[in-house]
């Protein structure tokens, strides 16, 4: 890929050896996301205590970007509150829509994904795990 190789390597490392992969046995929250364009599927399971994410696993059937995004997200949101996680998701989504190369400090670990935003067709791949996270946050509110 034309992306600087350091980002590519980081991304591929997450894709090959995803963190927090699989399903939690007794999750408090569970959400699925689906990309109808390519058939990718993702299920996110969370355990939450007093609003804080205690454990998190994502079961992914998807491309390297989809898998890496889920892995990076899981590392970032563990021990955060659901509200904080939803805020990160929102900032992440905004950064994918912006034309600037600037990346918020809180999203630094997601840089390998964000630099790929010029490939517009892959944004949905990056967003799948985050869509499931936002769904979990919504379920928690109701």
């Amino acid at each position: 890929m034309t992306t600087p190789s350091i980002y590519r390597d980081l991304l591929l490392e997450h894709a090959r050896h995803p963190k927090n992969s699989g399903r939690l046995e007794s999750p408090d929250l569970r959400a699925s996301a689906f990309n109808p364009l390519c058939g990718d599927e993702l299920e996110l399971t969370l355990t939450v205590s007093e609003g804080t994410i205690q454990d998190c696993k994502a079961q992914v059937r998807g491309c390297s970007i989809c898998q890496a995004s889920a892995s990076m997200m899981s590392e970032l949101i563990l021990t955060k509150t659901l509200q904080e996680a939803a805020n990160i998701s929102q900032v992440f989504t905004e950064s994918l829509q912006k034309d600037t190369e600037e990346i918020a400090e809180s999203l630094d670990s997601l840089r390998p994904l964000i630099v790929l935003k010029k490939h517009r067709s892959r944004i949905k791949c990056m967003k799948l795990a985050w869509d499931a996270l936002e769904e979990c946050a919504r379920q928690n509110q109701t």
């Binding site: 890929m1 034309t2 590519r8 591929l12 894709a15 364009l37 390519c38 058939g39 990718d40 599927e41 059937r61 998807g62 491309c63 390297s64 970007i65 989809c66 490939h119 892959r122 791949c125």
Partner: protein, 211 residues
């Protein structure tokens, strides 16, 4: 009859086929988007009523009853897409000038070469017949253990545009037991050397994702 895929690569004889309707789209014959052709037997058109009202489709309008223009005008309400019509006519003219038998022969050569190359690799799963018989220049496949979107991205970076996904055939993909596939399809401008470029790029995909 849906002739969208066939019409740019083989001659079609609606009389010999005795079909009531035949449709194809402009953008699959190197023409504009948003326009296509629906052939229908005259008697079928006579049997049908207009589905839409608008300019150009009436004969006489009264307070209680109206009469319609003859087919096909009664089905062509409103302002026609004039630019698209001109573009489509130019595309049809272009295909006729090149010659459908020549296009078909060229595509057969490309497909034969691609199938030969596919047979060299055990980790490439090709869907559909392995011979050119019953096949046109559209080949769907997967590279083992690499997601179709990842394959497509690497091919894209080598200047090769393919489609990745389920190509509007979710049911077939379920039947094949796969989430998605990569699809290469040849145009009349493609060359044998470009097919070889695909297989070199697939090697890059192996290096990136399977190393």
């Amino acid at each position: 009859m849906d002739a969208a895929q066939a019409v740019a690569r083989m001659s079609i004889d609606v009389s010999a086929w005795d079909c009531d309707f035949l449709a194809f789209s402009g953008h699959k014959i190197y023409g504009p988007t948003g326009i296509g052709v629906l052939y229908a037997k005259h008697e079928r058109l006579e049997e049908m009523h207009p589905f839409q009202g608008g300019g150009g489709m009436i004969r006489q309008v009264g307070r209680q009853t109206s009469t319609w223009a003859d087919a096909p005008q009664k089905f062509e309400a409103g302002t026609p897409p004039v630019a698209e019509v001109s573009g489509l006519a130019a595309a049809v003219g272009y295909l006729s000038d090149v010659g459908l038998p020549e296009i078909q022969q060229h595509e057969l050569e490309l497909t034969t070469h691609a199938l030969k190359r596919f047979a060299e690799f055990k980790d490439l799963e090709l869907y559909g017949p392995p011979e050119t018989i019953d096949r046109s220049g559209v080949l769907s496949f997967n590279l083992q253990n690499v997601h179709p979107h990842d394959v497509a991205q690497v091919l894209d970076e080598s200047g090769i545009a393919v489609r990745a996904g389920h190509h509007c055939t979710q049911v077939l993909h379920k039947r094949l037991g796969i989430a998605a596939s990569v699809r290469m399809s040849f145009g009349l401008y493609n060359e044998i050397s470009e097919i070889d470029r695909i297989f070199s790029a697939l090697d890059q995909a192996r290096n990136i994702f399977l190393a």
